[in-house]
Amino acid sequence: METLTFRKGLRDAIPIALGYFSVSAAFGMICISNKMPMWAAPLISLTNFTGTGQFVGANMIAMGSLIIEIILTLMVINARYFLMSISLSQRLSSKITLLGRFAIAFGNTDEIFAVAMQQNKILNIKYMFGLILCSFSGWVGGTVAGTLIGSFMPIDLVSAMGIAIYAMFIAIIVPPLKKSKPIFTVVAIAAVLNCIFTYTPVINGIGSSWSVIISGVVAAAIGAILFPQEMEDFNE
């Protein structure tokens, strides 16, 4: 079996970096189309390093949502990282210092988590840093490229890009809901609930951010009660 080195980490993350480059390029363009200054998208990618959360956050910034609404929505949407970090925590070598753990936490994205867990052995800090450095470069580089492209696009095309963020949301949820009846059910419940919250007089006074949070939490809770999933065992 190959040992887990820094170089292997870099190499294993090349497919992730390429995928990240295109997604974060779209993120950069979307921020420009939402009339954010050029430094905004690269700064968000440098400090957040999360796909869905960044798109949702940028969307809420464009709508002028309250800071507390943004925090709550991100807590809800990023709750899965909590779970992933608990799993990853059990795989990290006991030689990794507290500082090392704090650094690795920043890079625990869905894709890096998946690749790290595939190794089926104790993970050292060199390998994790290789994975994270390569993926993060793709993420930030793509964002800068997208921001530059977005700044030179004609104004009509930029206004048409308002749809892009929603198109990406659709592209994230549709493939899994095709295969999974529980996810399909959760999606249907969330859609109906949020329409009720948006179009019912009086109730729609709570505002769009809160109705998204409530619809999302209620739909996921109903899904968990109706279709509890067996937990994957990563330690085999």
């Binding site: 295109s22 997604v23 779209a26 954010m36 905004a40 968000i44 400090t47 869905t52 949702v56 956050g57 969307n59 910034i61 800071i67 943004i70 925090i71 807590m75 809800v76 949407i77 709750a79 899965r80 990282y81 909590f82 970090s85 925590s89 990290l92 690795i104 936490a105 920043f106 009509d156 206004s159 048409a160 890009m161 749809i163 963020i165 929603y166 198109a167 990406m168 949301f169 659709i170 592209a171 994230i172 949820i173 549709v174 899994p176 529980p182 996810i183 959760v186 999606v187 419940i189 969330a190 859609a191 998204v212 999302g216 739909a219 809770a221 899904g223 968990a224 509890p228 999933q229 937990m231």
Partner: protein, 117 residues
């Protein structure tokens, strides 16, 4: 756009995202045992994304001339066209960037046609 608001929002996003990742990695070494909590956390991203799409997508294509009600109806039509393109390509398992670019082009063309009628 207000730079102070933007910086505050970005800082809030960064801290929230980081703490959720860091706290379990540093404090929790035990395994999660509750399958209902596990399922809830798995379903949450899909549920929240859906609530963001429906009905928000309908109002996502405001063009430069979206002040009167006619323009709004027009925007809803272009948004539906863009949404349909995204849905079809996603059903065909196309990548995120392809779906985003194709639906943007669809909206762009639809805007052009509707405004020249």
């Amino acid at each position: 756009m207000n730079n102070v608001y933007l910086l505050l929002a970005v800082t809030a996003m960064a801290i929230t995202t980081y703490l959720i990742r860091a706290i379990p990695l540093v404090l929790f070494r035990k395994k999660l045992k509750n399958k209902y909590l596990y399922s809830f956390l798995n379903y949450i991203p899909y549920a929240v994304l859906t609530a963001l799409i429906v009905p928000g997508i309908l109002y996502s294509t405001k063009s430069a001339v979206s002040i009167d009600s006619i323009a709004t109806t027009q925007n809803i039509i272009t948004a539906c066209i863009g949404g349909a393109v995204a849905l079809i390509l996603s059903l065909l398992n196309r990548s995120l960037i392809i779906v985003a670019v194709a639906s943007t082009i669809a909206v762009y063309i639809a805007q052009f046609i509707l405004s020249s009628i």
